[in-house]
């Protein structure tokens, strides 16, 4: 049991902080409504129906596209970009290419080629504006730094609103890649802490090495905790009420110094409860009842309880035979307990310096 306790202590020290982080971030993610986090609070949902028929403008046929595409295609979709028809091509390598459906380009050698979509900053601004529902001013489109997760050619437009909305629009597809704001950043940050995903490239990674380590340690932590709990329950701790109150007499060298009536719990707790009620300090301990410091030792003057693992670890054979036991490890019983002169001298130390 002492081993379990040691294990539990060191594991607690090792993973305690992460456990707290898991609980706190989990609680926040649970309690903050998703609407609050939503980055789309100012996002205009794109109108699904096309207002103007685009069929008349289509001059590039599907077969032109199939013929002129550099790479074989697996999928072609008709879309509109700023009311112009365009094709979204999926190449067999999975990459997407966007070309206009109303124009073909001609090279200097009089060859026809597909006209790749490449929007101007002004057009990008227009798309961002259309996707934005708020009425704050939008700053000019800015190119992104290279080391980000957005597709190549994505520009950022910031809005001067209360959540600092950022709109990402891609130059080559005309699509609104994402709306973000400082609330969605906060959510990302909570998720990062919750998933321990501190250098995420894109999205949230689930199988993080450290997550696995700490998850396994947590499991051991929980098992050791349950083991300790079962032991203590078995010993009789935590059972709220004993049927009949017991009387504990405290002696210092044959002299009765206190009489305690108790209902439940361990000897140490009851002795100190009694002392505290009299503004005294009681028995000093270092481990707070953990069976580790050995300072709560008392002498059972008659019929000591059988020594437990903690008694044996802390007390010499001779003392055990004489009836010394750790008072934090034994449940109350009718007993006469002897205190050492040192314990008694510290007994009445002023309680005001307890926490100094």
């Amino acid at each position: 049991m002492i081993r379990w306790q040691q294990l539990h202590k060191w594991l607690g020290l090792l993973i305690g902080l992460q456990l707290l982080l898991w609980i706190v971030t989990g609680l926040l993610l649970n309690m903050i409504p998703s609407v609050w986090f939503s980055a789309s609070m100012h996002q205009q949902q794109s109108a699904s129906a096309q207002a103007t028929p685009i069929s008349l403008q289509i001059t590039v046929s599907i077969n032109d596209v199939v013929r002129l595409s550099h790479l074989p295609l697996s999928d072609i979709e008709l879309i509109t970009i700023l009311a112009r028809p365009a094709y979204q091509l999926t190449q067999v390598n999975g990459q997407q290419v966007f070309v206009w459906a109303d124009t073909l380009q001609t090279t200097t050698k009089h060859q026809q080629v597909l006209s790749r979509v490449s929007l101007t900053d002004l057009q990008i601004h227009q798309i961002a504006r259309a996707s934005y529902r708020g009425d704050a001013k939008l700053a000019p489109a800015k190119a992104l730094k290279h080391d980000n997760t957005m597709p190549v050619g994505t520009l950022m437009i910031t809005a001067n609103d209360e959540v600092d909305t950022r709109i990402y629009v891609n130059r080559h597809s005309g699509s609104v890649i994402a709306h973000q704001n400082n609330r969605s950043d906060y959510q990302q940050w909570l998720l990062m802490l919750h998933f321990m995903d501190y250098n995420s490239e894109n999205g949230v990674s689930f199988n993080h090495f450290w997550t696995q380590i700490i998850a396994v340690l947590s499991l051991i932590f929980i098992i050791s905790g349950i083991r300790l709990l079962v032991y203590q329950l078995h010993q009789g701790h935590f059972w709220p009420i004993k049927k009949r109150p017991v009387t504990i007499n405290l002696y210092e060298s044959q002299q009765l110094i206190a009489q305690i009536s108790a209902h439940s719990g361990c000897m140490l707790d009851n002795i100190n409860k009694h002392a505290n009620a009299q503004q005294a300090k009681g028995l000093i301990t270092e481990c707070g009842g953990g069976g580790q410091c050995g300072q709560c030792v008392v002498l059972y003057l008659s019929t000591p309880p059988s020594a437990c693992e903690y008694d044996i670890a802390k007390l010499s054979k001779r003392k055990l035979a004489l009836g010394y036991r750790l008072s934090c490890q034994h449940i109350i019983s009718n007993a006469d307990l002897g205190l050492s002169p040192q314990q008694v001298s510290q007994w009445y130390e002023n309680t005001s310096d307890v926490n100094q």
């Binding site: 609980i23 046929s61 307890v354």
Partner: protein, 201 residues
């Protein structure tokens, strides 16, 4: 659960990337389609089993047209669906059963994929591939580990009804209690580790 690769859980290893057949020229032009269905939306040209087809929504219905004849394409037969599933499947089980879901999706499937063929394999992972009866695409895959993950996720977020609402009161309550427990635990650890002789209990 974190010990199990998420891609494995998602069933990404159940199927190999199908060798994509590339699109060839079609005889039914998109402009003709738009004349017949002026409100056609999200028009997409792709193919299943070598036959190119258009897929679009018109009057909020999904329509599938043969891209060579312009006629509606019949939904997949059981044979076709099985064929698609078997050719993508990487495991070594055989098809044990096939079900067509048209109206109600099984709970593990998003209803947006309907109508769909569920092709079950007799393997130790109890794999199922879902093949769209319209497009012939493998829309999603399930196996016993995914189903286990789903149950674990339910336990994790303590939403025992819909399994996807992380904003439920039971979770709030339990998480708050855990927070208290953890804080008390931290306090106890603090007492244990600080060798301050004045600390009593």
């Amino acid at each position: 659960m974190v010990l199990m690769d998420i891609d494995f859980i998602h069933g990404d290893t159940l199927t190999a990337t199908p060798n994509i057949v590339t699109l060839k020229p079609v005889s039914y032009p998109i402009t003709t389609l738009l004349q017949h269905y002026p409100d056609a939306n999200k028009i997409r040209l792709t193919q299943r089993q070598g036959q190119a087809f258009y897929q679009f929504s018109s009057q909020s219905q999904l329509i599938i047209l043969n891209a060579d004849t312009g006629l509606p394409l019949a939904p997949l037969t059981e044979q076709q669906a099985k064929h698609i599933a078997v050719s993508a499947y990487t495991g070594n089980g055989t098809v044990s059963s096939a079900h067509l879901f048209e109206q109600d999706a099984p709970s593990e499937l998003n209803p947006k994929w309907l109508p769909v063929w569920q092709i079950n394999f007799a393997d130790i992972k109890q794999s199922s591939l879902y093949v769209s009866a319209d497009t012939g695409e493998i829309v999603t895959k399930r196996h016993v580990y995914w189903r286990l993950f789903d149950v674990m996720w339910m336990l994790h977020i303590m939403d025992y009804d819909t399994r996807d609402n992380i904003h439920n009161n039971l979770l709030t309550l339990m998480a708050s209690l855990s927070l208290l427990t953890a804080l008390f635990g931290t306090m106890l650890l603090w007492f244990r580790l600080s060798h301050n002789k004045k600390v009593t209990r």
